[in-house]
Every structure is written in C-alpha cells, then in structure tokens.
Amino acid sequence: MIEKQRKSLTNGPIVGGAAASAAAPGAPRVLGWKQQHQLIGLVFLLPAVVFVAIFYVYPIVLNIVISLERYTAKSFVTGEAPFIGFDNFIRLFGNPDFTVALQNTFLFTLNSLIFQFVIGLALALFFNQRFPLSRLLRSLFLLPWLAPILVSGAIWVRLFDLDYGVINFVLRSLGLIQQPLAWLTDPHLALVSVLIANIWIGIPFNMVILYGGLQNIPNTLYEAAMLDGANAWQKFRYVSWPLLRPVSTVVLLLGLIYTLKVFDVIMSITRGGPANVSQTLNTWAYSLSFTSFDFGLGAAAGDILMLVVLVFGLIYLRYAAREGR
C-alpha cells in the first residue's frame, strides 16, 4: 500500500519530493512518505514565516541596529549612520526624562490593569445575572472599545478641560472641589487623567472576556453550592473565582502587553506633557525620534520597551504552555 502510494507520488506533479525525484530520474531512492509530508508542511508554513520575518524580525533587528548608531535626519538622505556602540544607551540613562518615562510606564500599566480588571469583573458579574435589557446594556458597554481611540481622546480632552470641562463642572456642582482641577496641565494630574481615559477604554475588553468565562461555568456548580448553604460572596469566592482563574490570567497578561504599548491614548490627550511628565517609554521614544530627530536615541528607548514586553511575553508563553498541558 505504502509502496504503491510512493510510486504514484513520484509520478504525480506534487511539490517538493516530486521535484527532487524528477531531478534524478530512475533513482531508486525517493523521499519517504514522512519526509514528503514534512516538506509539504514546511511549504504551508512559509507564508507565516515570511510574514513574521518581514513584519516582525526585520523591524526589530533594524531597531536594534539603529540604536547602536548615530542616526539623525541626515542619515535618511546620505544613508550614513556611524556605529557608536552603547553611546545612545548611556545618553538615554543619563537623561532625567528616562526615569520619569520608565516610572510612568509602570504606574500607567499597573493601575490600568488593576482598575480595568476589577471594574470589568464587577460588570461581568453584574451582567451575568439575567435582567431585562441586560443584553442591550452589555452591548452598549462595548462602545468605548469600538470608538476609534483618537476620537475617544479628543472627547476626553474636552471633558477634562480646565474652564469648560464637564468633569470639573460636575465635581464643582457636587461641592467636591472648590477650584477647578487642571486635569491636563497640572504635572501631578496629567498622568492620572490619561490613566482614567485608558481604564475607561480597557474596561469593555475585560468585561467581555470575563463574562464569557463566567458563562462557561456550569450552573450546576452554583446550585450545588446553594444546597450547601453558600451565600453570594462564597459562591463567588469558591466557585466563580477559582474557575475564572485561567481566563483572568489570560486577560491580565494580554492587557499587560496591550497597555505597555499604549500610544494613541496618551498622544491624543496630553502628548506626554506638560513638560514630559506624562510620557511613557513608548511616547517618549516617539518624541525622541520624530520631534528631536535623534533616531538612535529613540530606537534605544524602543529597545528598552521591547525588552520589558519580551519579559512579560515569555511569562505569558510559559503560562500558556503550562495550561495547555
């Protein structure tokens, strides 16, 4: 049977193995069945490999190379960028804005994750109880996720406005503040403001995934818990929470990687200002490259960000592998 198949394959106009055997007509030894399958598999893999190579590997390698060069506006025209080793990194670490950007990146990411997750989970639990119009409401909660981020950003800028913003108006009407808060221009508040906007944008993602996770928990478990006399908190603590754990981890890790690379939210609301106080590594790298035209320094900042993302990406992969087993 196998013999027959081999024979037909050598005659057939099939990729890889057939071509190889055609090169040596009459040769008794052709590629084995298994090898042919592997070869065909590789061919199917090729588009993905090419895609990754062109769109991921090449830019990353290029970024690393540029971060080791004095790459300026002039380099674009002349194509010359002298190699300067780790000079860019030394300048980067010596820049006081680097500490701010690094610190902001962590504060921004950590707080985004915590608040998005907690609020997302609360909403998921809420919508998990059936009530009239719950489907409609749930869909409406997805809106922040659907609106283009630049549009959301422009709206938040209006909401945060010092003199005419709705947020200051409401807070003052409620008597919570006496003086309007300078959300976007107070160096202590600017990061908080972009954080609030980013949390708002991220809640739907957390809610949808966690809601899906909750829906997958069989009702029988809750019924059993009820028979054991569990109250609402105990049902959550001992049924929902443990069974939601795999979903939660995925949500948090994806959220982490997504938040580390957030760019448009900050660019459209504070542009990293005032005076760089709300820069994250991401926006700062952009401003180094495209405002200062110090592409080498910008690339170095990008390297650091990649390193951070890589570390968390590996954690995610490890986790995913363990779960898969």
Binding site: A73, K74, F76, V77, T78, G79, R91, G94, N95, P96, S139, L142, W145, L146, A147, P148, V151, V157, D161, L162, D163, A182, L184, T185, D186, P187, V208, Y211, G212, Q215, N216, T270, R271, G272, G273, P274, A275, N276, V277, F290, T291, S292, F293, D294
Partner: protein
Amino acid sequence: MVRKMLPLVSLLLAAALALSISSSAAAQTPAPTQAAAATGAVKLTEWDYFTSGGAGRSGPAWGDILNQCGTDNNITIDRQSVPRDELISKTLLAAQQQQLPDVLMIDNPDLQQVANTGALAVLTDYGVDLTGLYKNLIDAGSLNGKVYGIAPGINGMALFYNVDLLNKAGVKPPTTWAEVKDTAAKLTGNGVYGIAFSAPATEEGSWQFEPWFWGAGGDLKKLDSPEGVKALQFWTDLVTSGSASKSVVTWNQGDVDDQFIAGKAAMQQNGVWNLGALDQAKINYGVVPIPKPDGGAAPGPMGGEVLTIPLSSNQANMQAAGKLVNCLLSDKTMLAWAQLNAYIPARQSVAAQAAKDTPAMKPFVDAAAAERSRPGPPANLGPDYSKVSQPLWNAIQAALTGAKTPQQALTDAQKQAESAMQ
C-alpha cells in the same frame, strides 16, 4: 455561551473595522489641486502643510495661488497638504526612497536642518530671483551662505486686544511689561482671562515665548541667563496670578484665537494671519507690538514657511520648479497671498504697499524688518536650533505648570541643549 456571543462580537468588530477604515480613508484623502493641464505641460508635485490653518482658508488660498502660477507657466501641479507634525518625518522617509516632491514647503526654522542633510538644491542655481527680499528671510533660508528656501510671505506676532473689553475696564493697551501685567489683571474676571498665549510642547511654544525672551535680552545660546529667567518668570506670573489660563500649555495658536473671538480672553498674543478670521468674526480689535520690559517693540521671531526645491535626477522638473518658485515670488503673487492669508509680502516694497492697502497689517509690516530668523543671528545656531528649541519649550511648560521654578527649568534646559549639541 461564548459561542452565543460570537455573532455579536464579530458584528461589533466588523462595525469597528468599518468605522476605522472610513475614518482613515477620510483622513488620508489628500487635497489635490490640478491646474489646467495644457498639452506638453510639465507635471510637478508639491507638498505643504496648509491643511486649513489660520483663518481656516490658508489651504484653499495656497491652492489658488499655486494654480495661478501653474497656469501661467504651463505646469500641472499635484499638491499634497500634510499636517505640520507629519511633514518632516514624511519628508525624511521620502528622502530615503528618493521620492521627494519637486517643490517642498517647510517651516522656516526647520530649513537649515533639512538643508544640512543635503537633500535640497541651491535656489539661485535654478534661476530663483532674490532681489529686494527681506534680509532676515534670506538668513532663515540660508545655510553656509547659500539660499535653499524662500517664501512669498512672512509673518510675525503682536498683541491683539479687544477694544470693547478694554474700554469697559477703562484701560489702555499696554506698552511695557508692567503694563501688560497690570492691564491683564484688570481685564481678568467673570470668566474672562486678561491675556491668552500659546505654550504647547512644540515649536509653537518656543516661537511664542521668543519675543519676550529676546525682548528681555535673552540669548538662545545661554537659556538660563538672568534675562532669560526674567522673561520666563514674567510668563509664569501671568499664569499663576490667574491673568492667563493654566490651559495655555495645551493651546495652540488656533485655540488662542478661538478664546479671543469668543470673548474669553481680552488680549491675545498671536500672528498676523489671524486678521482675516478676526475681521470675519466682526471683533472690534486693535493691535500693539509685543513690548520690551521697559517699552519699545520687542524683536520677534520671523515666521512663515519657505519653498524649497529638493535635489532630483530630473533636471527638467527642477528647472520648472525654479520657474514656479519665481512666479510665486512675483509682486503680484505676494500681494494676492497677503490678501488671501494675511501674510506680510516678502519683498519690502510690496510689504509697504500691503500696509497701505490693509491698515491692520501696518504694525506687522513695521515690525517685520526687525524680526529674527530663529536659527540665525545673533545666536547662529543653524541646524542645531531645534536642539535648543525643544528643551526651551519643555522648560516653558515646566515653569508654567509649576513643576519647576523658571530658574531651575531653564538651567535644566540649558544642560539638555548642551548635551544634545555635543
């Protein structure tokens, strides 16, 4: 159950995708302006950043002027307007791929930096006639004694004041710093700020600050001199005293003009190009020069965009580009540009004519000759200007928001500028 949600999620995703596609399509649609294509016409590409700007009509106005010169010279023009923020990065990428347009307009403080890359042609080699143009414009367009960029019009800033609001408060337009402070304080109240200016983290922030900085005797080579600190202290005091909004660090000049038109700011520091919008809004306004501390007009930075001819292998196109630029520099075009977009004509004799035609332009024309090219003298920073300007605008932001004292902010900025220039 997750499966149940899938149709919903995919529907919403599809909607989001459609939204983003339609919005990006709208954003990317260039504003092509085709001149009448005659037979045998040369086709030139042109990039500028007049997306609308100013009175909201600089975009179409520039299109009209290009078209006129195109028709006169039998040239078809394919125009693309790119937002100011994106123009330089687009230009660099295009330079890398040798896809630069035949005529490229850039902001004048960027000119020396771009010329320094070696991407631009010397204009006089392509027959561009520079006779009678403002010397500071030639300065701004030159690198190492060769002219790479030139413009039909320049611009400058002054203080605009709302005549009605000043009369109501019983104050006169200010002529010294003490008077600016006083007048602004008296005009502040009831939801109106005494003065508005713009201090964003862009070149616009440095540009708006420079008249005060230079007026006090500041030097871009030494940002933290006592004179420089005095100027920044003055701006900071205007904000901390409440005479100017804390939002100035987020406003661009268009926002400032909106505040002034809405009557939310009694005075504004802004550019000559706003004359059209103010007339259209029927605001009763007056214009005074930005003063030096003890009176007299402060030297401001020279504003405006310059036209360049990027080097290319297509000599015929470069020659045609030279012809086009020459036409844009004709007296007729300069006057038209002054009319359409309230720019000061770049030739002194024509500027005098424009001041006669439009009295509101007179203070700006009077100040034009004393305006400084930002990379030019006295600091002569050349291509390094942006390495000083950027720390400067960050220092302005830090001081105005109270993150640092003016002294500290400028000391830090000076250090950063020095390290960037190494």
